[in-house]
Symmetry: C2
Subunit: 407 residues, 2 copies
């Protein structure tokens, strides 16, 4: 199940960046499950990773290798990504396996082990099938191509029903800068610092420090603002590569233009995860405004977005606005004045002055709830901060997907 | 759906306390939906109420009336409880309706309006059908009886599939003290200060101040430790009445014996709500130990209890322990050392040293998961505080109940 149709975009070449995808038979034979991404020398790379305390072995190794390379003023040269197995909850063996994957790819490509970052997604707690994974690395390298985005977008999926990609271009001094990215994720989705998995690249030349801050800010407004089921994955990671083959982005005006385009790519990739959320039939935008802080606005938005009662009402297209009101009311906010809270469903006023809005009719509410794309706007009347969060509904298919399969 | 069989206990008489139940036709005709509880003069009464900011009109009025009576050194004389309509999100009209219910019952019984506390449960946002409610009050008063517990336990239900009652006796100076209570609740259940609704009474003589502290402590270990769906109701309330017709409970030893018996009643009523949770097929006990504080232990327990992925795995009897590990890992705890965390499923060790326990087998895990009553024990290796939380699973029936009906 997924919300609406989605067209995978025509992906551009990011000069210097190559992607290779193959089938290693990690979980089942025949499906694309191993991706290698080659980053050219001289690039900058920034990454964000899950805050789950049980973060997976590849996350631990990727963070360590990225930091080690940064200390030397170098960027990583390769990402190796497998699906079908998360290599999480695997203790010391998992760390050895993640490191071995890096070392073997390093040996095949003539770089140092620390220049390779590993990423895994899939079932938690099973050891990686190392023989099959290592054995398939040469095929993945053979497949490396600047036109490899489409196959890579397929190769990182798990319970997703469709690949997710986004791209933008901006012009700097008459030259084109291109940004392109892919993501995956469908369940265990409430990213915290990043989502599992996003890979975004640009041909721009941007310093590592600036890239890092652009990614942190962008992820804070995109991947960290989505939730399917409130479950933060052990393997979340989002990487941003700037190959430096294109124009240098340095002036404030250029950085701002780049930031806007990057944010658009990140938001589009994050929203694609929600539209393809496990069992999703609705795509819901929660705008919380007039909060005293962005944290408060996010707290209210996520409380509503996580409410199973709101999510089942959305699934049923039932304008059960009392559940939205009850969820807002239990959000962790001090001294809430419910008299000042205004809630709109699309263009229909639901709640004001502590109760149902005067002009509200069931018919008007039901009209909005029947749509596939629904916007809920909550104004708190407390301040000037705001936040937007995207979520999906809770359907029978969500239960089936997670009760019937070992994911 | 509900977990296992439940036998409604033989309820005792609490001398001086009478309960009357009738059908007012609040939502549909013919079902018991209006309950009046008469508290004798000279009793003590303590209450706890929801912390939801959008707390319902009856909650606001009940708190105000209880406080006003306490200031005068008096206890309330009547509770009036309707099901089928929560009188929540109803603004100024809702407050007028709740007050009118109290005033009419006061008129019929010759007490002051403030001596009546109103309670409502059911759909949010609809005005109370006042004519039917007020018109049925005389029948409820006619039905008043010291043996009215069974009908009252039926009369407060909404989506519950069965009535919930619990009782205990202790002996003080050769005299018997009796405690009895009823509760309702099945969905929108993560009580915060109390659950919708619990009514507990004893014939003991206990001061209001002591009763208050006994109820707060007891609710903190019972109703505030359960969750079906993380949604805190707008109407939660739990009342404790001491009629004072029996022995006086004053010495530390007597208070301790009373506290133990009261906690047992509260825990049994709270657990009954989980066993009858919407769509529940499993009853799950989460023991979190070795935390630095009770708050931390509760945070970890509720994070696991709210995880849709853990709940669907429980529904599927799937020993998908990676989901438990991922939920523990995202709990809001600073500086988690995953190496020290030990997780047991029943008598089977799942997780130790940062990964799957050495002796774990899928077969052993599946054996425990197939049970109806499941215990998950999580030791954090950080301190000496602990907490126990009870929850249910997430089934197709939960989605059906909440997607198909306006509740």
């Amino acid at each position: 199940m997924a919300v609406g149709e989605a067209v995978f975009p025509q992906m551009p070449v990011i000069e210097g960046l190559r992607l290779g995808t193959t089938s290693a038979g990690i979980k089942k034979p025949g499906r694309r499950d191993l991706v290698v991404i080659e980053v050219p020398e001289g690039a900058s790379v920034a990454g964000t990773f899950t805050l789950n305390a049980f973060c997976a072995a590849p996350v631990q190794v990727a963070k360590r290798h990225l930091a080690a390379r940064c200390e030397k003023g170098l960027a990583p040269r390769y990402f190796v990504i497998n699906t079908g197995n998360a290599n999480a909850g695997t203790g010391a063996l998992g760390l050895r396996d993640a490191t071995s994957s890096c070392d073997e790819l390093a040996r095949l490509t003539g770089v140092e082990g620390e220049a390779v970052l590993p990423f895994s997604t899939g079932v938690i707690g099973e050891p990686l099938p190392m023989e099959r994974l290592l054995g398939a690395l040469p095929q993945a390298l053979e497949a490396l191509s600047e036109n490899g985005w489409d196959a890579a977008a397929e190769g990182i999926l798990t319970t997703d029903t469709r690949p997710k990609g986004a791209t933008r271009t901006i012009t700097i001094d008459g030259e084109t800068v291109t940004i392109a990215g892919i993501s995956k994720g469908s369940g265990m989705i409430q990213p915290n610092m990043a989502t599992m998995l996003g890979f975004v690249a640009t041909d721009a030349a941007i310093s590592q420090a600036r890239l890092e801050s652009l990614l942190q800010d962008g992820v804070g407004r995109s991947f960290n603002c989505i939730t399917v089921d409130s479950d933060t994955s052990t393997n979340d990671a989002c990487m941003l590569v700037a190959t430096g083959r294109g124009p240098r982005v340095e002036s404030s005006a250029d950085l701002e233009a780049f930031r806007v385009a990057l944010d658009e790519v990140l938001v589009e990739l994050a929203q694609a995860i929600i539209r393809d959320g496990e069992g999703a039939t609705k795509f819901v935008t929660l705008d919380v405004e007039e909060a005293t802080s962005r944290r408060e606005a996010l707290d209210v938005a996520f409380t509503v977005a996580h409410s199973p009662l709101v999510k089942t009402a959305l699934y049923a297209s039932d304008a059960n606005w009392g559940r939205i009101l009850a969820a807002v009311g239990r959000a962790p906010v001090e001294n809430f004045d419910v008299e000042r809270i205004v809630i709109d469903l699309g263009d229909v006023r639901l709640v004001e002055a502590g109760g149902r809005a005067a002009g509200y009719t069931e018919e008007a509410g039901s009209d909005v709830m029947a749509r596939e794309d629904i916007r809920i706007r909550i104004r708190l009347g407390r301040g000037e901060a705001s936040a937007t969060v995207w979520t999906s509904d809770l359907s029978h298919d969500y239960v089936s997907i997670n009760a019937d399969y070992r994911s």
